[in-house]
Amino acid sequence: MRTARIVMPKTAKKGEIIDIKTLITHPMETGYRRDDVGAAIARDIIGQLRVTYAGTEVFRMTMFPGVAANPFAAFTTIATATGEFVFTWTGENGEGHVERTTLTVA
């Protein structure tokens, strides 16, 4: 079970550029490290964060092992109309995590 945090305004004026910050708890295990007895630690990476706004993709990030543990991403989008934001993190091993939040546009 992952914990994800989204920081963004609840309301915005039409046409306003809003800042969105996201973070999810995840080790982003690179696959390059070895444990105490020298065995390779298996790679476990969140490969993608996709953000849709009222059904349309507004941001997508592809991540590699070079992204730090507990991947953080911040970006902007234009407030167009009241709608739902869906944040989907997808792991390379198939795991997924979804967060939803609604922006009210006055």
């Binding site: 990030m61 592809t62 070079g66 730090a68 234009i78």
Partner: protein, 152 residues
Amino acid sequence: MQRRQVIALGLKAAATVALLPLLPYAASATDAQMADAMKQVLGAMVPKSGRVTIDIPPLAENGNSVPVTVIVESPMTAVDHVKTIYLFSPVNPAPDVAHFHLGPRSGRARVQTSIRLANTQNLHAVAVMSDGSAWMQTAEVIVTLSACVDAG
């Protein structure tokens, strides 16, 4: 060959051997791998210098998590916007770090994340625009404690 040349050669060889054990344990990307990674996303395009700004601390005490912001000069309109921002590391074991896909609805071409840095290096950020042009900027970061070390 004169005697002093022979001595100089010997010293150079000794210096090379002495440096070898200092190389990092985790293999870093070779120049060829770096060129390959960039070619894969850019094709034959050669990015021009400019329009991209990398905001990263010049000295990172801990390479496990270094905050980085990339800003690209662009009006971000339907006809002229940033399509993708790529982050490349020439020293990490894998050159690809992150790709950010944007569009006219982004409003601003400004993204932020936290990355791992295996060692002191020149981080590369490349922005591909909607008109097909590519722009690049590099930023030097000195890393005192590298990422990828065990017992982390």
